[in-house]
Amino acid sequence: MSRIPHSLRSPAAVIGFALLFLQILLILFAPLLSPYSPVEADALASLQPPSAAHWFGTDITGMDVFSRVIYATRINLLISVVSVAVAFLIGVPLGLFIGYYKGIVSSLVMRLFDFIQAFPIFVLGMALVAVMGQEIWNVAIVLAILFTPVFARLIRAEVLSLRERPFVAAARCSGASDLHIMFGHLLLNALLPAMVQVSISIGMAILLTAGLSFIGAGVRMPVPEWGLMVSSGAQQMILGVWWVSLFPGLAIVFSVLCFALLGDVIRDLLDPTKTRRAVSTSTDIIPGIGGPL
């Protein structure tokens, strides 16, 4: 028990991992867990309230909400994880380069990021989806475009402070190439905030995917997607039909909560100031350098 870090034993971590485990189960066993097809309409079963036959009720076309909520886990997490992974893989090296090399290219890239981030996120998302088409992969690409500057900026900010540190000068003096300095020394030290950001971004991506679908700029009907389901159900709220929106809404809440909690856990795990061996500076965890100079 004592070997498990304290941050992994916190209630937040337990809840976060439990929710993650549940989502993985739903993703892997969706066909076994879903009593109905998530995309087949049954006109005569339209808007049935929750019952033994339909645990979460049915939507206006008679599709089973429970089955759709389960299958939507696949779509929402697929879009979110893929988009954040792509953004991470592009944003991190990019941030490393523009942080390490100052110059016109670096400035141009930063202005491009300013341009992307200056737009209201939904307006930009809608515009990009409108141009590229309402496909699952296009939504993922749009989110990747939106998140890339986030990772790049984080890494750049870290690199800007690290590049003047003595260990970098030492590495340079010992004949290390720029690439070696960037990927062998700076990257590992700058990665912590980006790692924490991954989990937070997945949560944000889930919200954005749902948000884009809610306003009609995300995936198409009848693809099971939480935001689209909330949107579709919102029309019927006035008729007293609450179940069509409520259950996918709860799914969004728990999924976002899961990744927010996991983000905290990762931060606590990787933050050297929260470990027993932490000392006054971070230079002692720099690999390949061998301690303070």
Partner: protein, 528 residues
């Protein structure tokens, strides 16, 4: 010093506000109607392609030469009596014995909102504009009346205009009731003419100049349209002095606003919302049989819909009773002809399509699509009914191996795609304004029609329609049109769906609902 200047300034400001807001404040709440609909008109110009929102604006800001007399239907709603045409801006009219010309005798003393009196010059300028712009008016004249030259339009004197047609036509009078053929106040419109805009299109797309009961005082596309009453209107000023139309895209929001009393009229609610509205004591629901056909058009030029068997197969796959129950709450009737049931010469005696999956599979195999095919179905944003039907049809078609991708598009993008012929299947909810089977068939089925979006083409059908357009033998026309309906139903250019009727939810205080064939509300008839 500040006090000295402040008081006069404040007084002046207050005075200015009173003066500026005078007309607005002059109207009491009972003279203002707040209306919410799914969208504001795309354009106010009659030459713009007709849309539901556009039709409503036209009904209120344009006045036509002729009108139908009104009658009360069994539900108590005022509807048009298709058997009786009366004078509108034309006090009377004469049709030549050979049915080859019509002469309009214009009313004297008819004034526009700008105070200009209508004369034959206004009518001729309207005709000239329409003819030269080669859009809506030109289409009616060339396609329906077969007019070949502008010489067909003659100004006889200040209050008399004559239109001659090359062939006899039974539509010679009926056509001028049409919502798209209003008369423009040419004196006012000409003030907005420029070298590069000789027909004042810029002005007339966002403003009004006519002899109608209302004029446009504000047009903010996507937000609101404000209609003010024409004080000189020839039938007497409207009871409602101001109509404020607000765009509210979500139908449930419109119902909620009506229920809360923030608006007086909620247009285009879904059948479920209408059912709910009927249970609310402060809301009145007006219903008429209507003339709509809600259908799924297939691009007959595009494979696999170029094969009759494929189109028939899809018709056999539609679960009509289920859609009637779950989508329309049993308030709609299945469409069994391209012609509306309320129009003369309608027949549904040959409609064979009942849900039959085996038959559909057999037809698909015969067409060479034994394993089905993949296609796209387009529907409009903000149309929950179409989305619901699209999902049900996707499931229904899948039973025969037909995979449908649903494509939701803004109305304008969808129109652009099916007009260009790049959308394989799409919903159309449309009606023909003129209650005549030949007119309807010519509009939707004639291969030469600009609104035959399915690109259906059958030489025999074209010939029968063209013959009926110039025939004066009513019995022969009726037989020919019944034959056209049988052929079209058999060749199924569309997936025939439903006639949803027309319903309007208003505050219980609102009175005077009337129904016209374009399914657009005439605010002149309303009061509260």
């Amino acid at each position: 010093m500040r006090m000295t200047w402040g008081l006069p300034k404040a007084s002046l400001l207050a005075l200015a506000l009173v003066i500026a807001g005078g007309p607005a404040f002059a109207q009491s709440a009972s003279e203002t109607l707040l209306v919410a609909g799914p969208r504001t008109p795309e354009s106010l110009d009659q030459e713009y392609p007709p849309t539901e929102a556009g039709h409503e604006a036209r009904r209120n800001i344009f006045e036509r030469l002729l009108v139908y007399a009104m009658k009360t239907d069994p539900n108590g709603a005022r509807v048009e009596d298709f058997t009786k045409i009366e004078g509108g801006l034309a006090e009377s009219y004469e049709i030549a014995p050979d049915n080859k010309s019509i002469t309009f005798h214009l009313r004297h003393g008819v004034k526009s909102a700008a105070g200009n009196e209508m004369t034959a010059d206004d009518v001729m300028w309207t005709f000239q504009r329409g003819w030269n712009m080669k859009a809506t008016f030109h289409w009616y004249m060339t396609q329906i009346l077969k007019i070949e030259s502008f010489d067909a339009f003659q100004r006889i004197d200040d209050y008399t205009v004559k239109v001659s047609v090359p062939n006899p036509s039974l539509l010679l009078a009926r056509l001028w009731v049409n919502n798209d053929l209003g008369i423009i106040d040419s004196v006012e419109a000409k003030k907005h003419i420029t070298v590069d805009d000789p027909w004042a299109t810029r002005f007339l797309s966002t403003g009004s100049a006519s002899f109608a009961p209302y004029y446009i005082s504000k047009f903010s596309p996507g937000q609101e349209v404000i209609y003010d009453a024409n004080p000189y209107y020839y039938r007497g000023p409207a009871k409602l002095k101001k109509i404020i139309f607000r765009e509210m895209p979500t139908s449930s929001n419109r119902l909620a606003a009506l229920q809360a009393g923030s608006i007086d009229v909620a247009e285009w609610l879904t059948p479920r919302e209408i059912a709910l509205a009927k249970q609310i004591p402060t809301i009145k629901v007006w219903e008429v049989f209507g003339n709509y056909t809600h259908r799924l058009e297939m691009n007959n030029n595009m494979a696999p819909f170029d094969k009759v068997e494929v189109r028939q197969a899809l018709n056999y796959l539609v679960p009509r009773p289920q859609i009637a129950q779950s989508v329309y709450m049993n308030t709609a009737r299945p469409t069994k002809s391209p012609v509306s049931e309320i129009y003369p010469a309608y027949t549904d005696d040959s409609f064979p399509y009942k849900e039959d999956v085996a038959k559909a599979k057999e037809l698909l195999a015969k067409a060479g699509y034994k394993d089905g095919f993949k296609t796209e179905l387009g529907y409009r944003t903000g149309e929950p009914l179409e989305e619901q039907m699209a999902v049900i049809l996707k499931t229904a078609f899948a039973r025969a191996g037909v995979t449908v991708d649903l494509v939701q598009l803004p109305a304008s993008s969808l129109v652009e795609r099916y007009t260009k012929g790049t959308m394989p299947m799409f919903f159309i909810r449309d009606m023909a304004i003129v209650p005549d089977a030949a007119y309807v068939a010519n509009l939707f089925i004639n291969s030469q029609s600009m609104v035959n979006f399915s690109h259906y083409k059958n030489a025999e059908v074209d010939a029968l329609i063209n013959k009926a357009l110039i025939s004066t033998d009513e019995k022969e026309r009726e037989e020919d049109m019944k034959k056209v309906q049988r052929v079209v139903v058999d060749e199924a250019p569309w997936v025939f769906l439903f006639n949803p009727g027309y319903q309007l939810a208003t505050s219980a205080k609102v009175k005077g609902f009337s129904w016209y064939t374009p399914n657009s509300n005439s605010w002149y008839d309303f009061s509260k």
